[in-house]
């Protein structure tokens, strides 16, 4: 019997578009820009498409929030090697700081969100500094603990509104500002991070993941590099938190809910870890899916789990990596 195996070969157009000559033909420019344009135009037109379904516009906002958190998880886990389960930590800190600025100090919304993003990121980085020498699962555990810790502190001491949370945050001036703020910020962070990880400094971070001892031996402080990475990740997380607090006009302990840690991770798994776009694609699938499954009541978790399991078993590489391969390569059967 003849043995056959599948062979993967780069498409001609992929090879042609690798150099500067790609700009010489419209077809090749489209090949490069196509997927990016689909994403950008798709995201920007979502509010118009859903004009008649205001409920789903809210879902789009939440979807973008989860995308940002998933992006920060993907960056930390796959480019720096820090598995951070603290998505909820970033969101909670960002949300509460935005509430403090907006309600207690009565800063307007366009000051409180950026300020909460930066202050929250600094605070999160400082809190995580002692854990940075930890690696792998130990870092994951500590970051998982922080949101629980803050929930209990707020409950027990009855500070910052206690279990009721802080209410009365100012809302966005109108619905379009509300939507385009998060959509544009998400796209900016996505393309910004994609650029960042290919810069020299991004390569150093990948070096920290591959072999941190050699980075130290090159005279680079890994503590500094890791804290820089955590800062960048928490900027994304805290922005998401500050946004969601203003969206709900409320900041409570449910911002520290485990959802904000777990769903982004599931998104990255489904979308494909290490691609950054995968984090967005995963959220675009998972968040609306979880809304649709709301009709099933508590049974939705079961369906959710089944879908996740199927993806992990049959397409463990993730959707984005699969799509990229199909886009760039073709397959054929050859004799062994």
């Amino acid at each position: 019997m003849e043995m056959m195996r599948r062979e993967r070969i780069d498409r001609g157009i992929k090879v042609r578009t690798e150099g500067i000559y790609a700009i010489s033909s419209i077809r090749e420019v489209l090949y490069l820009l196509g997927p990016r344009l689909i994403l950008i135009v798709g995201m920007i037109s979502l509010p118009f498409i859903l004009e008649l379904a205001p409920y789903w516009k809210r879902v789009v906002n939440i979807m973008c929030v989860y995308s940002l958190i998933a992006l920060s998880f993907d960056f930390l886990a796959n480019y720096v090697g820090l598995v951070c389960l603290g998505g909820a930590f970033f969101v909670g800190i960002g949300g509460y700081i935005a509430a403090i600025f907006n309600v207690y100090l009565s800063f307007p919304i366009y000051v409180s969100i950026p300020l909460a993003t930066i202050c929250g990121a600094i605070f999160c980085t400082l809190m995580l500094l002692p854990c940075l020498p930890l690696r792998g699962v130990y870092f994951a555990i500590v970051t998982l603990m922080y949101p629980l810790f803050f929930t209990r502190v707020i409950e027990a001491l009855n500070i910052l509104g206690g279990t009721n949370g802080i209410t009365g945050l100012s809302s966005f001036p109108n619905q379009y500002v509300e939507e385009y703020t998060i959509i544009i910020v998400t796209l900016l962070f996505l393309f910004g991070m994609r650029r960042f990880v290919t810069q020299d400094i991004g390569l150093v971070l990948r070096g920290v993941k591959d072999n941190d001892q050699a980075v130290r031996a090159s005279g680079i402080s890994i503590a500094y590099m890791k804290s820089l990475a955590v800062f960048i990740a928490s900027v994304m997380g805290c922005f998401a938190g500050a946004y969601i607090a203003h969206l709900y006009m409320w900041s409570g302990i449910s911002l520290f809910a485990l959802d904000f840690s777990i769903i982004p991770i599931a998104s990255v798994v489904i979308g494909g870890g290490g691609t950054l776009v995968g984090a967005i694609i995963g959220s675009v699938i998972l968040v609306p899916l979880s809304e649709i499954l709301r009709a099933f009541g508590t049974f939705r978790i079961v369906i959710y789990c089944i879908i996740l399991t199927l993806v992990i078993v049959f397409k463990s590489e993730g959707l984005m990596i699969y799509l990229q391969r199909k886009y760039h390569q073709f397959e054929r059967w050859v004799k062994v």
């Binding site: 070096g207 130290r216 005279g219």
Partner: protein, 260 residues
């Protein structure tokens, strides 16, 4: 060379380094001096504390007692990256390149380091392309053919010989004054070693001081000016290579003593 230069100030000297892991005394009162431009070998049987000594000097593990001077500066207890920043580079016995990056991108990391940027003149924003070019230049110097695909291959797919060279290239890229080579010859074929020896000579002629841990004594002695022998964490001999190897205690350490 070494004896003649002993009047000079040593580039690196240690005084009474001791280190114990629990009950095991890994290093006992080790003192030695290395002069600029030398190739200094450290030999000894397995478990004699050679790698521990390197780890202690380069700050990867803490010293229990003793001091390390680099160019008359006391660097004892400094963090590893600060010691590297001063100009002490090292290779690792177990090669672990940045395996997900192409070989030449492996060098971007040391080239990005504050030391390389200071010395190499990239401070204040070198362009993205610059470092890539320098990286390929260094790789070419160390024996990666520029026109072949080798420098652009993912590091984890490279053969052992190239990975060893990559380790050295990574050290050279930080522009060090001293390189600690932890068994660069081990696991290489005779022809690969023959290819490495000129690199060692080249680094030496570039004025880099080399401190080499080695089990392959024949190859080491072709390049080393002086060697030091360790056994059970103690220094048992130091001097010209062929004098050291004839030393009674060194022979005992390698071959064992005869029970009477």
């Amino acid at each position: 060379m070494g004896e003649g230069m002993s009047g000079d100030i040593p580039i690196l000297s240690t005084k009474g380094i001791s280190k114990s892991f629990g009950g095991l005394q890994a290093l006992i009162d080790v003192s030695f001096e290395v002069y600029r431009g030398e190739v200094f070998g450290i030999i000894g049987p397995n478990g004699s504390g050679k790698t521990t000594l390197i780890n202690c000097i380069t700050g990867f593990i803490k010293i229990d007692s003793g001091t390390v001077y680099f160019k008359e500066k006391n660097i004892t207890g400094w963090k590893a990256h600060k010691i590297a920043h001063e100009g002490i580079a090292r290779t690792f016995q177990i090669m672990r390149p940045y395996y997900s990056l192409p070989a030449y991108k492996n060098l971007i990391i040391p080239l990005w380091s504050p030391r390389a940027r200071k010395i190499g003149g990239w401070r204040g924003g070198g362009k993205h392309g610059d470092r890539d070019t320098v990286a390929v230049d260094i790789l070419e110097e160390i024996g990666f053919e520029r026109d072949s695909k080798v420098p652009y291959k993912i590091a984890s797919t490279l053969p052992t010989g190239y990975q060893k060279r990559l380790e050295l290239a990574r050290c050279i890229a930080v522009r060090p004054e001293i390189i600690f080579c932890d068994e660069v010859f081990s696991g290489l074929s005779m022809s690969e070693i023959a290819g490495m020896l000129p690199l060692i000579e080249k680094m030496k002629s570039d004025g880099i001081t080399l401190i080499m841990i080695e089990h392959r004594l024949r190859e080491l002695f072709r390049v080393a000016d002086r060697v030091m022998a360790l056994n059970f964490g103690e220094k048992i001999a130091e001097g010209e290579p062929f004098v050291v190897i004839e030393d009674k205690r060194v022979k005992e350490a390698y071959l064992g003593t005869e029970e009477v």
